[in-house]
């Protein structure tokens, strides 16, 4: 019995020490620093305002690497306490739908318009103040005031520079159904930004044309990838020759990997649907009780320092405050902005998913 009692003691001690360890690390809270540093200080270099009793809760579908400095600068400059949940845009939209009126969230930031349409269809979005809406061009905000674009990502073709000579690059997504491109093109067919793009494609050319294009791509042995990043990475290694993605992943990947990354962005024709600008959107929830602070944040996102940060640091397209796109970005052309009714996206989303599912692309 003696050795068994020892065993028991040891087991209890082991579990006990694990718990104590957990509780200990839990208790070591870090002290608040009254000034901000690093990237956030680039956005707001001044001294912080006194923290009052104003607070704001943000659900951000934009990654914390990009948005945390912005929120830090906002909190410092205004004295508003900001609590934030970072997650996938889709998952957050589902959470907001589940929470309904009880949601703690005041502001929801989405990396693409689809989830915004989903929330709008369920009447979960409140109205943004006119003063904030006016900061962007009419085509980059909702007519009903439920959302406003705060940065843009352009659709481009990313290609492997060893596999395709510059002269041979396509000038339209419609070229890619030709025999030349058999088995060489990657599509992120189930990714949010692709689905949004395809919905606009349907809106502009009619559902028949868009569906035909997708089916032709499948017949042309286009390859399915789950998201933009995996296509950019595969193009950098030469696993695929070319793929339709958002512009800014390639800059990030090249920055991270260096010269081993053998891929570049290619702008499809200026008036080609393959050059569409997809906006990232800010919204205020209908349940928000802090609409004043929420509007302040939305205006802050559209202010000059933040717009400059978004294009300089993350190489996105700025949409407000007269900020010009950062250096490596090709300028936007006329068709890219405007003429697209993003409000139609929410409703068109369901049919788009149906078409993409039916095409069989996901099993390519």
């Amino acid at each position: 019995m003696l050795s068994q009692t020892l065993h028991t003691r040891r087991l209890i001690r082991r579990l006990g020490s694990l718990t104590v360890l957990a509780l200990f690390v839990a208790s070591c809270a870090t002290a608040e620093v009254p000034t901000i540093e690093g990237v956030a200080a680039d956005i707001y270099p001044g001294t912080c305002a006194e923290v009052g009793d104003r607070e704001l809760t943000v659900y951000s579908g934009r990654t914390e690497n990009l948005i945390e400095p912005v929120l830090d600068a906002f909190a410092c400059e205004t004295g508003i306490e900001v609590a934030v949940r970072f997650a996938d845009s889709t998952d957050l939209a589902l959470l907001l739908a589940e929470e309904g009126d009880s949601t703690p969230a005041d502001v929801y930031l989405s990396s693409s318009p689809g989830p915004v349409g989903f929330l709008e269809a369920r009447n979960l979005l409140g109205e943004i103040d006119e003063s904030a809406l006016e900061l962007v061009a009419a085509e980059n905000r909702s007519a009903s005031g439920s959302w406003v674009g705060f940065s843009g990502r352009k659709r481009v073709a990313v290609y492997n520079i060893d596999a395709i000579a510059e002269a041979d690059l396509p000038t339209s997504v419609f070229d890619l159904t030709n025999e030349t491109w058999r088995g060489r093109v990657a599509l992120p067919a189930t990714n949010g930004s692709f689905l949004d793009w395809f919905t606009v494609f349907r809106d502009q050319f009619g559902t028949d044309v868009a569906t035909q294009w997708l089916n032709d791509m499948v017949a042309n042995d286009a390859k399915y990838y789950p998201n933009n990043r995996s296509i950019v990475e595969a193009a950098g290694r030469g696993e695929i020759d070319i793929g339709l993605v958002n512009h800014y992943y390639n800059y990030q990947e090249a920055e991270a990997i260096g010269d081993d990354h053998r891929a570049l962005n290619h702008d499809l024709g200026d008036d080609d649907i393959g050059s569409l600008l997809i906006i990232t959107a800010a919204t205020i929830t209908s349940a928000s009780e802090n609409t004043g602070e929420a509007n302040e944040l939305v205006e802050y996102l559209l202010s000059e320092p933040v717009q400059r940060y978004l294009t300089d640091e993350t190489l996105e397209y700025p949409l407000a405050a007269g900020v010009a796109p950062a250096d490596p970005l090709p300028p936007l052309t006329a068709l890219e902005i405007g003429s697209v009714d993003f409000d139609a996206l929410g409703g068109g989303f369901e049919e788009t998913t149906e078409i993409v599912d039916a095409s069989g692309i996901a099993n390519q």
């Binding site: 082991r14 957990a22 690390v25 839990a26 997650a87 996938d88 589902l94 696993e239 990030q252 991270a256």
Partner: protein
């Protein structure tokens, strides 16, 4: 001894725990009604049946290979004189900690055409293959899930008396005959429980199958949440029913193996590998290189490129050491608490099933295990749904760590369930009979007989839940209190937007932490 009726308090506790674990399942059924889903109708469509068939095919293949790999590694590192066996025993559970979305991407980065090891593979004459489809998903999931088998089987082997095996050998059995006739029947329960987890994990996995571009049911679920919720809910319900069927099947198969024999002071025998030493070592090294080495090559490459970049004045990293420490601390705290609570939560049910063969216990057991097949995001949404409808508890629980721990326990209690049950079954009844004859009460017996004999199994259960929780993503994102980042949530955020340097650095921290914890739990026991 005839079976006694379980104490009524134990039964009530068991039922209460089962009800808590049933939250996600009940939520799913409710949502099927509220969204007008028609799961039966979907079952007649080829667009459901084909992914479903692919899901089952993949899960069967992964289960078989993970079972073989897990048992081989467990036997070699526990029962033989394999060189460095203690080291390999610590390393073997580590693949559990790779989140599949970054683990699978790391495999691709290392092994696929143009990848980091492509030149080496070409020289070896095995280059040019592309990890994708059924093969890619099978390989990656086998390498990530074999610890579900390894940990319980290794724990069981450690408590297995060598005497029977010795006798068999003396009486003329070959080593393989002795394994088949003596060892295998003894590990069958642990093996069955572990393999079941592999199967259920595989049907619920999304990260690996989507990167390997193998179109399973989870992909269809994932893409339909926003656009066609009714279809997503219906497909999830099909997944849950499949899980229940498989759990039931495993239960009826393993029923015969309940009577486990065990003597008290059990020194496991150690086989001399002899001329099999080198081939065995080569096998273990190969398994380690594939399951830990290959993904680590890419992860370390990402991390070091990022660190070099800052030193050379390139773009700044978006994380600093303070953020990494904060995330590591949260990860450790939440996963350690979840692991301990999960094992405590499944213990009453393990006693009900293992000691009393109680019907209520059997049903609770099935509920807990089958829940493992539900995608994490559904568990997260389900718990949000229930807390919002629970009156005063909503204020108390929402945005609290308690809710996060609870969600983890519901997600991973299944991992602890199987091993804990096997641990309970390994305690011979006659010990209890003897002890109670000598006047030892129930509580005293629990601490002097049950706990010491069950210790290896319970520690393995803690380890399984701990390492799995450390990499959990959807619940950590959706249920964690606001401003409570964990390593996985940070890795996810960084990786999705191609901040691969930041993701790499934090993944290295995650793997290092898991190795230390694995050492703490697996090795320091002896």
């Amino acid at each position: 001894m005839t079976l006694t009726r379980p104490p009524w308090a134990l039964r009530i506790v068991g039922i209460a725990i089962a009800i808590l674990f049933a939250f996600p399942g009940v939520y799913l059924v409710f949502r099927n009604f509220s969204s007008g889903a028609e799961p039966l109708e979907l079952l007649t469509s080829s667009r459901t049946l084909e992914p479903l068939w692919r899901t089952i095919k993949l899960a069967v293949l992964v289960s078989l290979s993970a079972a073989v790999l897990g048992v081989a590694l467990a036997w070699l590192t526990v029962r033989t004189n394999l060189i460095g066996r203690r080291f390999w025993r610590v390393l073997a559970p580590v693949p559990l900690v790779f989140p599949t979305f970054i683990g699978a991407a790391a495999f691709i980065r290392t092994l696929n055409p143009g990848g980091l090891a492509a030149g080496l593979l070409d020289q070896l004459g095995v280059g040019g293959f592309e990890l994708r489809g059924l093969f890619g998903a099978w390989l990656v999931l086998t390498l990530f899930t074999y610890p579900y088998v390894f940990l319980p089987v290794a724990a069981r082997l450690q408590r297995l008396p060598g005497s029977l095996e010795d006798s068999a050998r003396v009486l003329g059995d070959s080593a393989s005959q002795a394994f088949r006739r003596i060892v295998f029947p003894q590990i069958r329960g642990a093996l069955g429980a572990g393999t079941l987890l592999v199967f259920l994990y595989t049907i619920s996995d999304f990260g690996a199958v989507q990167l390997m571009r193998y179109d399973t049911l989870t992909r269809a679920i994932e893409t339909n949440y926003l656009a066609r919720p009714a279809i997503a809910f219906a497909l999830s319900l099909i997944l849950l029913v499949l899980a229940i069927v498989v759990v039931g099947g495993e239960r009826s198969l393993s029923r015969g193996s309940d009577s486990l024999e065990q003597t008290r002071s059990s020194k496991p025998i150690v086989h001399a590998l002899g001329r099999w030493q080198l081939p065995s070592l080569a096998f273990v090294v190969f398994a380690a290189v594939m399951s830990v080495g290959a993904p680590m090559v890419a992860i370390v490459d990402w991390a070091s490129a990022g660190l070099l970049r800052t030193r050379n004045g390139g773009r700044r990293l978006t994380i600093d050491s303070e953020k990494v420490v904060e995330a590591a601390r949260n990860t450790l705290e939440s996963s350690a608490l979840a692991a301990v609570v999960a094992v405590l939560a499944v213990l009453p049910i393990a006693f009900l099933v293992g000691r009393y063969r109680d019907r209520v216990g059997g049903a609770s057991h099935a509920v807990i295990i089958a829940t493992f097949a539900l995608p994490g995001i559904l568990i997260a949404l389900a718990l949000r749904f229930w807390t919002l409808r629970s009156g005063f508890a909503a204020d108390f629980l929402s945005d609290s760590k308690a809710l996060l721990i609870f969600a983890y326990v519901v997600r991973f209690g299944s991992l602890a369930m199987g091993i804990t049950l096997v641990a309970v079954q390994t305690v011979p009844r006659r010990f209890h009979d003897a002890a109670s004859t000598l006047g030892a009460g129930r509580v005293r017996r629990l601490f002097t007989i049950d706990a010491p004999m069950m210790a290896p199994g319970l520690m393995a259960a803690v380890g399984l839940v701990l390492l799995s929780t450390m990499k959990e993503l959807p619940i950590s994102l959706i249920i964690a209190p606001l401003g409570y980042p964990t390593l996985t949530t940070r890795i996810f955020g960084s990786f999705e937007d191609a901040f691969v340097a930041e993701a790499g650095i934090m993944a290295v921290v995650l793997v290092a932490m898991s190795a230390v914890l694995s050492w703490f739990l697996v090795l320091r026991r002896a």
